[in-house]
């Protein structure tokens, strides 16, 4: 058996006779078919939604080049001190969570290239990658043994003495949990409002301190990965400044008199519609209403031509106040409209991530 034969049974990117990254060529060699078929497949998937580009890039990063035993990603991860087993485990957990969210929660993390249940498909892909990474680690010794028959014997490697495991990572995890717990206790005891982004900030600060300590004492480079996973969630959560009250739902309130009218309407997630068009108040004067949706849409429908004083805050998303539309982060709006008759609606509206929509009752309804 020659070295060429051995490499022919392994999935590798071509380094010669390739068009871009050698992915299609490598797949063609592995399955013993014309690489042109894979190129057409990738091109077609790129045209119909862009998935081809994503899959090609994933394959390019994950597949080792001919004559090498580590992929680009593995090279980077090794430098970061992360083993395939650890990464595989993390990817597996993320995949399983996505799958559970998709099946139970009906979460929609849609990607245009895939059908009605894209999350399930993505989750299966992520799980497959996780299993592949774990298996790569498991089969690696066997592959090495097979390769020794075909290739000239190398000098036996001198095994380095394994370093004692550092407890730093566990110290940091416990400090992280303690800081979050203490923050939550302080917010409860002192009635201080702590935003979700601040909890994540405390967690990241604990990880950061742990890494700085690890620069000289102990080692916990795995914390870099944890920080990278937390970072996008933390930044997203920092925009959620609305109160986390009221549950998750799609609700509509249409009070018709003072007894039904509340001063506060809250929702953590979903859609809240507050229809004030049929409201009849007993006395003319200001009607104070505060409404918020932490993540989702808040819709307020006012009677045509009603007097209104409103202020709204959107952490990230859209604010549509009558005819004015604004998109972005930290959107603040104030609006005043005065009429000589009828009550004045004084509205305090908030949405963390999502939309605040204020509109008048459509023309021709009455």
């Amino acid at each position: 058996m020659t070295s060429q034969d051995t490499s022919g049974h392994l999935l590798r990117r071509r380094t010669t006779d390739r068009v871009i990254g050698g992915v299609a060529g490598g797949l063609g060699d592995y399955f013993n078919v014309d690489p042109l078929l894979f190129r057409i497949g990738f091109a077609a998937l790129i045209i119909f939604g862009g998935a081809g580009l994503v899959l090609y890039l994933i394959a390019w990063v994950l597949l080792p080049a001919e004559g090498q035993d580590a992929s680009i990603l593995e090279g980077i991860l090794r430098r970061l001190g992360l083993t395939p087993l650890r990464i595989g485990g993390i990817v597996l957990i993320v995949g399983v969570l996505a799958l559970v969210l998709s099946i139970i929660g009906g979460a929609d993390l849609s990607f245009p290239a895939f059908g009605e249940r894209p999350v399930a498909l993505w989750a299966v892909v992520v799980i497959a990658v996780g299993i592949l990474l774990i298996r790569r680690r498991e089969v690696a010794p066997a592959t090495t043994l097979a390769a020794t028959d075909a290739t000239p014997r190398r000098a036996p490697r001198v095994k380095a003495t394994p370093r004692p495991r550092s407890p730093l990572g566990w110290y940091v995890i416990s400090a992280l949990l303690l800081s979050i717990g203490v923050l939550a206790l302080v917010s409860q005891a002192a009635s201080v409002e702590v935003q979700p982004g601040q909890f994540f900030g405390a967690a990241l600060a604990a990880i950061g301190i742990g890494l700085v300590v690890g620069a000289w004492w102990g080692r916990a480079r795995i914390l870099i990965l944890l920080a990278l996973l937390l970072l996008p969630i933390a930044i997203t959560a920092s925009f959620v400044t609305a109160p986390l009250e009221g549950g998750v739902a799609d609700v509509r309130f249409a009070p018709v008199n003072n007894a039904e009218l509340r001063t506060e309407y809250r929702l953590i997630g979903g859609r809240l519609v507050l229809d004030l068009t049929d409201l009849t108040v007993s006395a003319w004067g200001p009607v104070h209403i505060a409404a918020s949706v932490a993540v989702g849409q808040l819709v307020v429908i006012l009677p045509r031509g009603a007097s209104v004083q409103l202020q709204s805050h959107v952490g990230a998303g859209d604010a549509i106040i009558f005819d004015s539309r604004d998109t972005g982060t930290s959107l603040e709006h104030r609006y005043v409209r005065t009429q000589p008759y009828g009550p004045t609606y004084v509205l305090d509206l908030q949405s963390g991530i999502g939309e605040v929509l204020v509109e008048s009752e459509p023309t021709g309804v009455r």
Binding site: R79, L231, I235
Partner: protein, 70 residues
């Protein structure tokens, strides 16, 4: 935990993560424009990858080089 030679990757990434954590903890992101988030994350990641990709220096590298010269 024993003291070891300085690990620049841990130090740089630690300082970056600590910085972001403190900004979030103090509510400093309020008012941050979304257009800044992407570039800031990219720059942070770039710095970390730069240190991660730095070739590791073996402790006996200098001694071997000196021995070769002799």
């Amino acid at each position: 935990m024993q003291r070891h030679p300085a690990d620049l990757l841990s130090l740089v990434s630690g300082l970056l993560v600590l910085g972001v954590g403190l900004v979030l903890l103090t509510g400093g992101l309020d008012g941050l424009r979304l257009e800044w988030v992407g570039p800031m994350v990219a720059v942070g990641l770039g710095v970390v990858i730069l240190f991660a990709a730095r070739p590791a220096r073996r402790p006996n590298e200098d001694e071997t080089a000196k021995a070769d010269e002799r």
